[in-house]
Amino acid sequence: MKKFSLLSTRAGALFLAPATALVGVFVIVPFFWVIFVSFTNRTLLGRTAVDPDFVGLQNYFALFNPATFFTRGQFGFSLILTIQFVLLSALIGQALLGLLLAWLSQTVTPTLKSFLQTAVIAAWILPEVVIGFAWFAFLDYDNGTLNMILRGLGLPPGDWLLQQPFWVIVFFNTWRGAAFSMMLFNSAFQSIPPSYFQAADVAGATSWQKLRDIALPLIRGHVVTDLILITMWTFNVFTPFLLTHGGPSYRTEILSIYTYRIAFKDFEFGKGAAVGVVIMLINLAFALVYLRLAHKKPVEAE
């Protein structure tokens, strides 16, 4: 009495097996393992590498110790730094710039549009180490392109990586990631029937009025998707490491870099895992909001 289907349940299970195994071992197991390790004093080397002790919430107490919480190089400092980093480079930088770029792309000539898009997308697709090196050269005090331009304009040059490291990674991440928002908004704008804008043109609306009154209300869903996705990605991004290594003196040590230092420089796996758990909890909050909004019917009727 088996029902007809394009792929039988048994074959379907077989088809799912390789992916399930890979995702299970390298995504789902790590999720639970990191929680487990965060309750131990596991290290990379020494006795506790092979035989770690269960230390309860000690790692978490260390992270949230009020005495050192806000000290540079400590968890709290890194957390607050990361929040500022996300707010400035993702929510304000990438999203607003992406919106502006997409809106400009709709208006300007095809040649200018392809120049604009190529430059923005190049920043996004090139490998991160190449980008890191390009910025290193760009920001060089003596010969870098930025200081060359500033001198040319009669402005004082700066050793930006030392003087303003935080703002460097903010601008860097905005520059690096704006392409995603731009492309998302591009496709969102293209999904709006041109007649809507033509009707507004006939009514005499300005570009700003068209954006505010027609485009933005219609792409509200895309805006929400964009904001949540870039927030999650920026929250977890490791690329600034390639520019600053978290320094100087921890001033650019966002959470991903902090985790790396604790786990792989100081070899405190337990504590590194605890940071990982906190990051995952924050990710989880964003992901739940996103899945709620983006996939209104994720569990379809079968």
Binding site: G12, A13, P18, L22, R42, V120, F238, F269, M280, A287
Partner: protein, 276 residues
Amino acid sequence: MQKTQNIFVRRAIFAAAATFLGTVFALPLVWFVFAPFNARAELGLAIPSPFTLSNFATVFQNTFAMQALLNSLIQAAGGVVLVGGAATLAAYALSRSPIPGKGAVTYILLLFSSVVSGSAAMVPIFLIISAAGLIDTHLAVILVFAGGLLPTAMFILRDFIDAIPRSYEESAMVAGASPLQAFFDVALPVIRPGIVVVVVWAFVNIWGSFLIPFILLRSDKLMPASVAIYSFYSEAGTPIVTLLAAYSLIYSLPVIALYLFVNWKFGFRFFGGIKS
């Protein structure tokens, strides 16, 4: 009259803004256009004189650097084969098979893949790979990337397959094909553009990434280009600019080529969260 003038001025402002922003975005990369071809390149922007390929010649003679490119290729190709194959099969099953709770499976996968990021999971991933005795192997990098990229790949492909009419396979079966014949003769070729997109996306991700091989690999002979590039620094930690620039360009070429390919073939349509 006033109105036409306004429109003209507005257009000019828009064009100026677009030019300015495009230039700002291009500026950090302009240096890369020239430095690889300049035998005396420094961190400053300079037109090469003479224009030379000698930097490339030096890089090509560097066996370690070339080995690193090969390593990148091995790891990216291996990861891509796993991601492409497993994601296609899984997405097809999720779309076409009456497996109970497959909606929930997709949901959970998506949730986990966004929660378990590289930065959150670097410790347990390192521990799992250590426990499996795979530290410092290509396979370690390949497997970790495959697992990490699969949920998104499955999700993109499932959307793609859902959009394909079931009448393709149905007509094949009515005509006498078995489910497997219908899958290989009809479904797979129709899905192929989606697989290409996923494969390109996975390749670019693995090819360009730094953190995972940086953590999982030790020996020089296994390092991919993203990590090996740091060997072009002198003992004192200052970069050997000429070689770095040339090597960076070579290393970037596959990514640029793939981007142009996808752009040409599919017009770079937008596939959800195409980048993780």
